[in-house]
Symmetry: C2
Subunit: 345 residues, 2 copies
Amino acid sequence: MTGKVRASVSIKDIARAAGVSPSTVSRALHSHPGISAETGDRIRLLAEEMGYTPSLPARSLVTRDTATIGMVITHASDPFLARLVVGVEECARSEGYAVFLSSSYRDAEREQEVIRSFHERRASGVIVTGSQIGTGYLELSQRFPLPIVLTNCSGYPYSVSTDNQAGAQQAVEHLVHSGHRRIAYVSNQRSSRTNRERLAGYRAVLQEHAIPVDDDLVLEGDGTLEGGARAAQQMLASSQPPTAVFCFNDMAAIGVIHAFNRADYRVPHCCSVVGFDDLELAGYYCPPLTTVRQPSYEIGRRAMRMLLKLIQGREDVQTEILPAELVVRETTRPVPRSARKEKGR
Amino acid sequence: MTGKVRASVSIKDIARAAGVSPSTVSRALHSHPGISAETGDRIRLLAEEMGYTPSLPARSLVTRDTATIGMVITHASDPFLARLVVGVEECARSEGYAVFLSSSYRDAEREQEVIRSFHERRASGVIVTGSQIGTGYLELSQRFPLPIVLTNCSGYPYSVSTDNQAGAQQAVEHLVHSGHRRIAYVSNQRSSRTNRERLAGYRAVLQEHAIPVDDDLVLEGDGTLEGGARAAQQMLASSQPPTAVFCFNDMAAIGVIHAFNRADYRVPHCCSVVGFDDLELAGYYCPPLTTVRQPSYEIGRRAMRMLLKLIQGREDVQTEILPAELVVRETTRPVPRSARKEKGR
DNA sequence: TATAATTGTGCAAACGTTTGCGGGAGCCGC
DNA sequence: GCGGCTCCCGCAAACGTTTGCACAATTATA
């Protein structure tokens, strides 16, 4: 059982105190024309004194607008969200919207529950990151009759993503150009579209360079530190560990580096590692992480702009795909000539 | 200018379709007694078919309860929030509340704005982490007539915190027991109460062991990677760098370790470092970070329970202070006997 | 001075719900 | 056949706003 809110002063209370009608108070507070300056000032002063705060639920009932956008995130401290959320908040703010976050914990049911919760509160629209439902929203659109834009789900018509495949290709190109041929990939959950795209990039580069793709070299991960570490254990247990590994994201990369270090399989001396995202942390890890940078602030900003268009009923929107950029730091390096001979092919 | 929400099906639409009155629909949807099973089923089916989602704003207007709690966080990807938010969400959920997050960016004005935003939406209560206002809420209580509980602000009557001073003492004790005598502290923003408490703990231990506290050894930081790195630069530039440093939190600690490493001032060989928080990342850093663990899940859970009490109008609540726990990993080690001789005292 | 335009304010409906109260229909027992 | 009871359901008020319209008072125009 939930509890009641403390009594708040209403527009009627002010009206009574000022000896005017509620409508006059409403108009005064909005500085409508047609209210004398004197009454207006008196009412506004009174409202201030009485500690009046308008009730948005009541207001939204008649205006049919909550000026609220909901954002579903994976969890509160997902480091990938840092710049992305700033992007959406800044954009939303400048248009008079407030944004509220709620976490899905990468669970499809929770995600739907959160969306429903936003809809019940009549949010103007929602942005979802790390969706487990993805293109499934196309069928759910009458269940959730509110504008939804996704990030990193290029199959959904209202989405903005980074070019995952191209980003992955840059990463793997970098590795093969450094002489690596046994290159592993540690994945995200299989179902993830983003994962499929990055995996495709990985495979494309290998094929292009006539390097056989060895299925034992694609490890199951989940985008977490722990998942990365687990994948690293598997690699270490193999008879012929890779000399380089490309990871779904930076967290996984840190997980594998950590596990490699523990096993004295040094990065980058024994093995190169590259991540994805370019978290702020990446530059502070040891060694500083080579990774591919997502323009996450820009993703957030554009997602919000797209959502605004949808809210306004405009349909001239289309999926946006933003470029990724490889940033080379210190977890990658050329394989030594000697090693290249024995390990090559 | 914000935009209107798409038309939703209302209880009246269902009533019309079912040939009954709105009140009957309402009662049917809530499975009130006094509605025949047949009509009830018919209405519920119809509601499902028509894609009805109740309007919480409208509902809350009459029930005077939004079943919503607001949580203000510093920013979306603050790693300290990981377990804390889970704690409040799980507790809230079990009591039928939804929780929404909004970021303050450690700015007092933004923080007030967020609180006001929650109050306008008639949230039942709010929890704020990393408050810049702190005990200032005591004076703001009539401006924000809704229950507020703070975390890590032990001066505020409705708060749950970790025992910062005791935690800091454990950390510094550990360092002096390892033979260190030149121990630095890298702080958070000065104003922060949490910072003052940890600093007090630091000073207390030094005094207890008759180690003079050198003001040059308390460095200004801000709890970020970058701030930690800056503080490290300062220490390195000094004529006599410390042999150990205690940091306000893990992020700062990682920042100093990173900067130390860059300068080939190895951790822990040349210098021990201990953080605060025990982020998940701490165990994955290299070397794995010695730190003091905050019971952050428990903080979240208790904060939410406290808030629930306040919402119910109970006043039998009081500040809670939870114990911290030192976890020793690999960024600290005894100072070598030789060094102890030349550096000691 | 009568009329028209202007200015300031109030009335009432509406938004989508919930809920106390009253009332009609059916049934029972006498 | 009548009173009483139970079972379903509708009426209407209320929550806190906004807003179209009417209206009274004041001022400008003829």
